[in-house]
């Protein structure tokens, strides 16, 4: 008998510990429910973000969210889920997308937008945007078009233009007696001259998403005649086995073999950026948002910001793309309305202004004034604004046009290409295979 009592007690203790735990969570749930019942007009909006911690846009995001709180704090309760690191964000969004439970507002990058459309959560925001002409005027038609689906629906909105030429070390260029190249032959020639003077020409990296390397690859393809340019502006191209891609891969092989740092193969963005900012390589392809780092003594060598120049790619090429931006996944009209208010805070003229000031993002619309003071404080930014007027070839990057599996394949097969295990043709074929697996 005694034993049975003891056994019962043991089981009871375990069960009750479970129940107590559940009870706790139920308690907080019902608590918040009753609270929202009290103020029926308060809408709860869920928003997931990776722009936290060390992310370059963290300060900008905070400024926007503060503004949102100020404007709508008494009618909309924003529940923010912080997902530090880009990969963790993508992973969790995919789990939520599979369950049809994406938060009300998400960033659509890394294929999240497509999943939100596929699982039926993404909302066509065009009608709601049309209702607010003032806001729409802040956005450029190009940026809206870039995110428009084939069926004329708008599932995401972005307010920045991603521009990238390359940064270069003016001292090294002067030492080698060269100017930013006008043609690709000249570009290769410049590399040779830099190399002859003992400067490593390029900071490249093939780890992560091959960011800096693939901007350069995209530039080679995107400035290679009409066919190449069209290829680099096509989302999910039919095949990578085109003459332009193979040419560019062959040239990239030479660059990776001869004209970059020893650690470029497999390097992370951080390695390549550091090589450039510590004066160990002469050129680095990246967007303007990197410019604050040049003045940061914790990242760049002393006086580095005075030595950095910015240039367009040969043939007046400039990477010009619009990322996916924010997607609305809210289900009820009230929440959709609240979500649009959040999007507006991020993307209207004031939101673009914040992006420009904090992150040095290029605003997509014309309603943001670039003051003389801002231009003086950000000479590289100002010069890029001036240069871009002469763009002959505008092209997107692979992160926007290719499936995530293709981007991943680049990092896997660049080493094989450089170590001579595969040819450029074979690599293009591997990219096709990767694209096929995503279709």
């Amino acid at each position: 008998m005694k034993r049975k009592v003891l056994a019962l007690f043991l089981v009871g203790a375990m069960v009750s510990s479970f129940v107590v735990g559940c009870g706790k969570s139920d308690g907080t749930d019902s608590g918040s429910q009753s609270e929202s019942e009290k103020n029926e007009d308060i809408v709860t909006l869920k928003y997931a973000t990776y722009r936290v911690g060390n992310h370059p846009s963290a300060a900008q995001e905070k400024a926007c969210l503060d503004r949102f709180e100020e404007l709508y704090g008494d009618e909309i309760k924003l529940e923010i889920e912080e997902l530090p690191s880009d990969q963790a964000y993508a992973d969790k969004m995919k789990v939520l997308a599979a369950s049809g439970e994406l938060p009300d507002v998400v960033d659509g990058k890394n294929g999240i937008k497509e999943l939100a459309i596929d699982n039926g959560q993404a909302v066509d925001i065009l009608p709601m945007l049309e209702d607010d002409q003032e806001w729409k005027a802040d956005l450029s038609e190009d940026a809206i078009q870039a995110n428009m689906s084939e069926d004329g629906k708008l599932y995401s909105l972005v307010a920045l233009t991603q521009l990238s030429g390359y940064f270069y070390n003016t001292e090294m260029f002067a030492d080698a007696g060269i100017e930013p190249a006008k043609t690709w032959e000249e570009f290769m020639d410049n590399c040779e001259k830099l190399d002859a003077k003992g400067h490593t020409p390029l900071a490249l990296m093939t780890g992560e998403n091959c960011w800096a390397t693939n901007i350069l690859l995209a530039a080679m393809i995107g400035t290679n005649g009409e066919a190449g340019n069209e290829f680099m502006n096509t989302k999910y191209p039919d095949t990578y086995q085109t003459p332009e891609v193979i040419d560019a891969l062959e040239r990239m092989k030479v660059l990776l073999e001869k004209y970059t740092t020893e650690d470029a193969i497999g390097a992370l963005y951080a390695n390549a950026a550091n090589n450039f900012m510590q004066g160990e390589a002469a050129m680095f392809c990246n967007g303007l948002w990197m410019t604050p780092d040049f003045e940061n003594p914790e990242k760049s060598m002393e006086g580095f910001s005075d030595k950095v120049g910015i240039a367009m790619f040969p043939e007046n090429g400039l990477m010009t793309t619009y990322p996916e931006g924010w997607v609305v996944c809210a289900d009820s009209p009230e929440k959709q309305d609240a979500a649009m208010k959040l999007l507006k805070v991020f993307t209207d003229a004031e939101g673009q202004q914040a992006a420009m000031e904090y992150t040095k993002d290029v605003p997509c619309g014309n309603n943001v004034e670039i003051t003389d003071q801002f231009a003086a404080e950000n000479p590289l930014f100002a010069q890029m604004m001036e240069d871009r007027k002469g763009t002959e070839y505008a092209f997107a990057t692979f992160d926007v046009t290719a499936y995530p599996t293709v981007v991943d394949s680049f990092s896997k097969y660049y080493p094989d290409l450089v170590y001579g295990n595969i040819t450029a043709e074979e690599m293009a074929k591997k990219l096709d295979e990767a694209a096929e697996s995503s279709k």
Partner: protein, 277 residues
């Protein structure tokens, strides 16, 4: 002659342990030294000592990430999950080691499956399960999941240990008229202390370091654990490795202390001759 023979054994032993220790020490030192370095120093120097003692990495770790908040969560989740796992699997491990019943092989095989289910395949189903029982974004949800992750490890260690110790002690207890449960609590559990300490250490480490599920099964600061904090320094375009290593040092310290404490439990049995027939 005996001395020479002694050296033949001793020298390779010394080399073996030496190599192993050096291989472990170098990366550990590397983490520690880097936690006082700036990003460029980490990314361009080999093994130099930092130019100055950059304590600010530790300050940044607290400033940028919610690490302080997560400490409490991590302790609560890891300790509770470890205790739960040890209680539940200690019971199972004992009967599987000692009792004879038909489905024994089945149970062993079933619990072994837990070693084999790939993490990526668990994500969505576990999210669904946890959500369905209302434990999403709660520490209890994480506790149950982590206790579950440790099922096979604890089972193997505990049942293996019980198989190895002589039966005489329990049997004499039974002969003295002690009941099953009483014997289990008063004799078996103290006897199995080294096994419980070992399994406990491994289980604690699993809980303390787990990232993917901590991220997937929670949304807010109230239930998240330390490994999530580490990722606040890992942004694709702006990683702060100095702060990340500083956070790593701070996150690892409690585990190291717990390991040292538990190790005593494991070793005391060793010369104490706990079990004599």
């Amino acid at each position: 002659m005996k001395r020479i023979r002694n050296y033949i054994v001793k020298v390779p032993t010394f080399i073996f342990v030496g190599v192993i220790i050096v291989m472990s020490v170098v990366p550990i030192l590397w983490v520690l030294v880097s936690s006082f370095k700036l990003n460029p120093e980490i990314l361009s120097s080999t093994f130099d000592f930092p130019t100055g003692l950059h304590i600010q990495n530790y300050v940044n770790a607290f400033r940028v990430s919610p690490i302080a908040k997560y400490y409490m969560n991590s302790f609560f989740v890891s300790i509770t999950a470890t205790v739960l796992n040890l209680v539940v699997m200690g019971m199972a491990g004992y009967v599987i080691a000692r009792a004879s019943f038909k489905l024994k092989r089945f149970f062993r095989a079933m619990f072994s499956l837990a070693l084999l289910v790939p993490g990526a395949a668990l994500l969505i189903p576990l999210y669904t399960t946890i959500k369905a029982v209302g434990l999403y974004d709660t520490r209890l949800g994480l506790i149950l999941v982590y206790a579950g992750f440790g099922i096979p490890t604890t089972l193997f260690i505990v049942s293996g240990y019980f198989m190895a110790i002589p039966r005489e002690l329990e049997e004499s207890a039974y002969i003295d008229g002690s009941g099953f449960l009483n014997t289990f609590i008063k004799i078996i559990v103290p006897l199995g202390k080294p096994a419980f300490a070992t399994a406990g250490v491994l289980q604690f480490l699993t809980c303390w370091n787990e990232f993917q599920f901590a991220m997937t099964l929670t949304t807010g600061h109230e239930s998240r654990t330390l490994p999530v904090a580490l990722y606040y320094f890992k942004s694709a375009f702006a990683s702060d490795y100095g702060a990340m290593f500083a956070a790593t040092v701070m996150i690892s310290l409690p585990s190291i202390i717990i390991y040292i404490l538990m190790q005593k439990q494991i070793v005391t049995g060793l010369t104490g001759g706990a079990v004599k027939g």
